[in-house]
Amino acid sequence: MHIDKDLVAASATPLVLAILAEGESYGYAILKRVRALSGGELEWTDGMLYPLLHRLRRLGYVTTEWRTPPEGRRRQYYMLTDDGRAALADQRRQWETVSRALNDIWRDQGRLLTAASEA
């Protein structure tokens, strides 16, 4: 299934915030989580994650820290801030409203269709 580019872009922020709400993480791990969550359906251009993360940092939604894990390379970790949590809650309300509205109308239309086919 192809998901529209605008929809992917719009869902990127809440998705990343929600992933970070589970705990701090770094770029590659965030991207892997996105792939796993969407079953590979959400096609992200990997690089684009980083400008997004940096925007969240500028807005104060996340803080960052460079760390070197025991085995491996220095990498930047991202942590959700209280502002980020608030933004996530806000985003969540918005998405739930949209998704409820769509669900409602599709459920009604589904009922009509069944009624029509039974008649």
């Binding site: 590659y28 251009t45 990997d46 400008p51 940096h54 500028r58 807005l59 104060g60 990498r75």
Partner: protein, 456 residues
Amino acid sequence: MESVEPQIAEWRAYVASAAGVNGHDVDELEDHLRNQIAELNAVGLAPDEAFLVAVKRMGDVDALSREFAREHSGRLWKQLVLSGDDEPARASGGWLTPLAFAAGAAVAVQVARLAASFPDEEPTWLARNATLFVLPFLAAYFARQRQLDTRQWVLTGTPFVLAALVVNLYPWGGGSSTEAFGTDSDTEALVILGLPVALWFVVAFPYMDGTVRSHERRMDFVRFTGEWFIYYVLIALGGGVLMGLTAAILEPAGIDVDRVAEWVLPSGAAGAVVVAAWLVESKQRVVENMAPVLTMLFTPLFAVMLACAAVVYAVTGLGGAFDRELVGVLDALLVVVLGLVLYGMSARDPSTSEPGWMDGIQLVAVVSALVLDLMVLGAMVARIGDLGFTPNRTAALGLNLVLLVNLAGAAWLAARFLRRRGTFHQLERWQTSYLPVFALWAAAVVVVLPPLFGFD
């Protein structure tokens, strides 16, 4: 993974050379690339295959660089210099359009000068209206460049018409005060000072594509103002050298150089306003390299100077005895410092969200300015208590109050930012939200003060 190391290094160099991507970004991207390659290796891909797939997934470097540039600057002008294909680059429109508007301003000023037979006579209407012969051309230039619609053109033009009505219909009487700008009416002198400031904010409207709410665009305008100023000074210096040499050449030929200067100077100064704006727009990269260096140079110097002044005045107790001249000088100084801090803010490298030493120095400058401002205010309140309100004192008091609130807010947010309790974004927001206050005060000085004080 040994075999792909050279390719990774090559890729890294290529990404690093892209505009808008800095060293940390490249580190982060490289780490990502290596993780991806390792994972693909683990599922059985050959190293070079894994490299190709990983690079492909990373995405088009041009698009990536554009995205980074947009985030790092968050500002439109960056896109001008990037080869964007999905985003139509804003054409700077060649040099003919700006030249036409510059010529318009030059001619308007010249006509006004001849009508006033300046400098043989110095009618005050000329000084009052001077801005109105120049800035409408700048505003029109931007309105044209940004392709504003009719409504926005009207909105751009209205303030200029109102300003023209105000400065020309108010019954300016000869005041009793000391003469300044060829007038002895204090309120008239204030209008001559205040109108350029107020109308400069009007130019912001077409500059910002006929919008006023976007904080990013407001910051762009701050940056534009700073860069415009730099270009204008450069043009003025070059023009000065040119005039000097011309004079040296023409003098022996028996030509009256003063007469030539009368013609060239006003028109040149007016035309340069538009030309400087055009240069800022089209030669962004030149200033972009120069401006952060200039702020980095002057912010510490001003910070030291302000801190010394604040300490000296506080210790020696001179603070209580500010006289009128000193208050004027200090006000000018505070405005310059605020301009410098604002401009430094707009030119700050947005990719560093961590506070750096420059942010500390800015805080020193802001706090020192705050202390000075408080002392000026104290002196001024005492003066007003003794001698009552005059137009000058009211204008200065208002300016100092406006500055006080701004500086206090800026100091508070900057301190929070330095202690990592807040973000730079909040500081930026404070300043961009505050810009209309300056505009309103300048407008109030022009429109409200004169009738309030009977045009004295």
